[in-house]
Symmetry: C2
Subunit: 507 residues, 2 copies
């Protein structure tokens, strides 16, 4: 990291030094993606004069570029119609595990307790979900079907600790449905009366000497605007996966990843605006890392091994979990061994490291220590024939001896094999979406949601598709309601007489 | 994390609101441990009027509670007299590896290039090192001998990438030599003319509107002092391993550890003072975690296995590396398998999980999948008889087949099996010891060293004993020199006429 020439552009501006406010609103939201739009809808519906600052020419953010999957449960209409039982209790158990060892219990409970309500709310905005279930294991459903297993619900050790149910809900559009989802949210944001100021880059917060955040400095059409927020500011500006310096500093493992799920706004500015006003950033080292190859559904019956020829994870786990194991358990070297029955279905010919007629020959071709891979595969086969996997507990459905030569080893860790999808760290918030300082105190007047915060799920290895947008929209709503309900700041009220100075008309 | 009732006591005080300065000095240092004393000596010797604020009744910090080992190399007098060749080049190669994948190249080079000079400087303060070498592998040498292998130098993969040399230098005192080391440093700090204000708790920094740090607010004898620093403030207040909330937030794996290498000052205040003035904190999730048991030197010939009966690390690695592997590779479950020849030397009878006459019986007693442990041990024995370990490359000296029944499995992961020794995250600094913002800009007037910063070594699995105090004292000196050499702040000069106001006499 070089400090030459850089300037600290995100340190909060002291409110006492502001000579004029260009605009005044009740609630000012930074970023009009999934979190920001949800916040805007709720704040505006609660009667707050709400302004959303959007850096791009139009809202949408990273959510608009995504598959649009939302994590809902507890017995949604879609779950029921597809024949699945679910309950708040079982959902809570699973989400607690998915969120990681150090999950925020209060956030987990709130998210699950109100999941059905959140589903209904999303439907009320016009978001449609088809009552159809995708049985094939996938992280990326291409059709318009509504429901699938989007995480580790059916997988050891999760399956033993919470009754499995599919909770990935995809809006009823084929391909990437995130754009459709955002259209619904942006329309609702507009209809609720929230004003959007597009092409407007937020720069820093405005903070009073006593610590209260009372506004935002932003750049719009070449000019700097100083915008007053009477009730609160909500940061919903995304993560930092596109900020190479921040990634190098905090989550360097993502540097080697060759693809990111991000919009240009994911440069960490929202996080830095928060820390520039005294907020804590936490969990900054974690990111969701996905292997480019494993597991395609057709290959779940293969055997993943490390450079010692040992297995190291249940091959049927969610992609975030197998990828985490490849990186941290296997040290970034892993092969999927398949037999001809599986191989015939492969679409990864370029990944073939070796093809041999016997396990011993394959072991030799891969340069593995003599006898190790042979033992691993013979042992696997013996157990698989009985439908058991006492080592890593792969589900019986995916257990079948590798018995049809030739046998191939597919290299999962060639160059460009990992996607660093997004960062999992950000501002520390409470379940109220209030932002916290490193001391655990609230930064008054400041809220945040989405990837701008350290979200619900703190570990890539527990992640399920849909948790990001589920989390962002849920806590975005919480932030919107709580900011709008905030007692009006007395000093802001006092200053209202002067606020006409420099105010512009509504865009 | 609860925010109720907490207040943000570490946010920087705005200099413009200071009505009177109680004291004025050139350089103000927070913390009088290894880093702070080294900084004080250099700042005072450079002619700066230097004040050190120490929270306890006397300086010493965590260094005084430690073994006092320092990492020096490149061919010190002790290395040469003990018959070891070393060079700056080989030391640099090793330290770069030890510091971790994302080491700061500039810091690594500076630390190694000037290691001989730093050794001489330490000797010039009266710190004695005996010209004797401890051949037995240990992390905790109890005698007064001067030199030992304190890290992974002789271990795969380090040994193949840099010519091994022992670089752990222990001051010539039996038992814990950290107290003796600190006596020398504190005496030199006093003799150089640095003033120490003991029983003085630093609270927050004082910062000008333009971002420059110009002082410290501290509590002394019940009163708050506002202390001006004309040239710079140096934060040397330690890590955060004793701050449970910060540990829970950033490095929760350390919560399960039952012992910490820390003085009461390691509560993260120095880090929070820095972030409260806009500094970045980085690498906050990393800590040095040590297993309470493995490896005692007598047991290096044993075989470490996970719950699947697989080996997962070279057993002869440094304790920080085997412990990291137990936690992250083996998922917190590991046993050391020994035969009677090793077992006779054990001092860990309470750790015995099973004792059996055969590998198969041991496997059954541990509830491992049938055939796995048997395979692992038979394969290990076959290779060990040839003096080879193609799986994990344990050094030939420690390879011997387990051949004398009975065989015992010692449980390395019983309750209270892990020490969380210290945190490895903290403020971001450059090789100049200047503190950086999240943007990579320098916070003018602010320096830091020691565990208050994200040090040289960023990963527990590469750590070597002596790197912490080596790093702290080295970059403490850099900070002291650079703060003292800083151009005097014009506004401070201008304000000097008024500085008599409220100044107290020297303690």
């Amino acid at each position: 990291m070089s400090g030459e020439g850089a300037t600290d552009t995100t340190r909060a501006l002291r409110a006492e030094s502001v000579s004029r406010w260009d605009r005044t609103h009740d609630v000012v939201i930074v970023g009009h993606g999934g979190a920001g739009a949800a916040a805007a809808i709720e704040a505006a519906r609660a009667g707050a004069d709400t302004l959303v600052l959007e850096r791009m020419t139009r809202g949408g953010g990273t959510t608009a570029l995504s598959t649009g999957v939302l994590y809902f449960g507890g017995g949604t209409r879609i779950q029921k119609r597809c024949g699945f039982d679910d309950s708040v209790e079982e959902m809570t158990k699973h989400v607690r595990l998915a969120a990681g060892t150090h999950a925020d219990e209060e956030k987990v409970r709130l998210f699950c307790d109100q999941s059905l309500e959140h589903f209904d709310w999303m439907c009320s905005l016009g978001v449609e979900f088809k009552e159809s279930y995708v049985a094939e294991k996938t992280t990326h459903p291409f059709g318009d079907d509504g429901l699938f297993y989007s995480g580790n619900e059916e997988v050891y050790p999760f399956a033993g600790q919470a009754v499995p149910a599919p909770r990935g809900h995809k809006p009823a559009r084929a391909g990437e449905a995130g754009g459709y989802l955002m259209e619904c949210l942006l329309r609702a944001s507009d209809e609720a009366g929230a004003r959007a100021l597009n092409d407007c880059e937020a720069l820093r917060l405005v903070q009073r000497e006593d610590g209260r955040v009372v506004g935002v400095v932003a750049r719009h059409q070449g000019a700097e605007l100083v915008i007053r927020a009477r009730r609160g500011v909500i940061l919903c500006a995304g993560g930092f996966v596109l900020n190479e310096a921040m990634v190098a500093e905090h989550a360097p493992q993502l540097l080697q990843c060759n693809w990111k799920a991000a919009s240009p706004g994911d440069d960490g500015r929202g996080i830095r605006m928060g820390t520039g006003a005294g907020a804590a950033s936490v969990n900054m080292h974690e990111g969701l890392v996905l292997n480019a190859y494993y597991p395609p559904a057709s290959h779940l019956k293969g055997v993943l091994v490390n450079a010692q020829g040992q297995r190291f994870v249940n091959e049927d786990a969610y992609l975030g979990r197998t990828s985490d194991a490849m990186v941290y358990r296997a040290g970034g070297r892993a092969w999927l061994v398949v037999d001809d029955a599986i191989y015939a279905r492969t679409q990864a010919a370029h990944r073939i490291a070796a093809v041999e007629e016997s396990f011993a020959a394959l072991e030799g071709a891969l340069g593995m220590p003599e006898g190790e891979l042979v033992h691993t595969l013979e042992s696997y086969n013996r157990w698989a024939a009985r439908g058991e996997d006492p080592l890593f507990h792969k589900a019986p459905a995916h257990l079948r001896p590798l018995s049809e030569p030739p046998f191939a080893a597919l290299d999962c860790c060639t160059a460009n094999s990992f996607f660093g999808v997004f960062t999992l760290g950000g501002l520390a918030i409470r379940a109220t979406a209030e932002v916290l300082t490193p001391e655990g105190a609230v930064v008054p007047g400041l809220f945040a949601a989405g990837r701008n915060t350290a979200g619900l799920c703190l570990e890539g290895r527990g992640y399920a598709s849909g948790l990001s947008i589920g989390d962002a929209t849920f806590f975005g709503r919480v932030a919107g309601r709580n900011a709008a309900a905030g007692l009006e700041d007395p000093q802001a009220a006092e200053g209202r007489a002067q606020r006409a100075v420099g105010e512009r008309s509504r865009e």
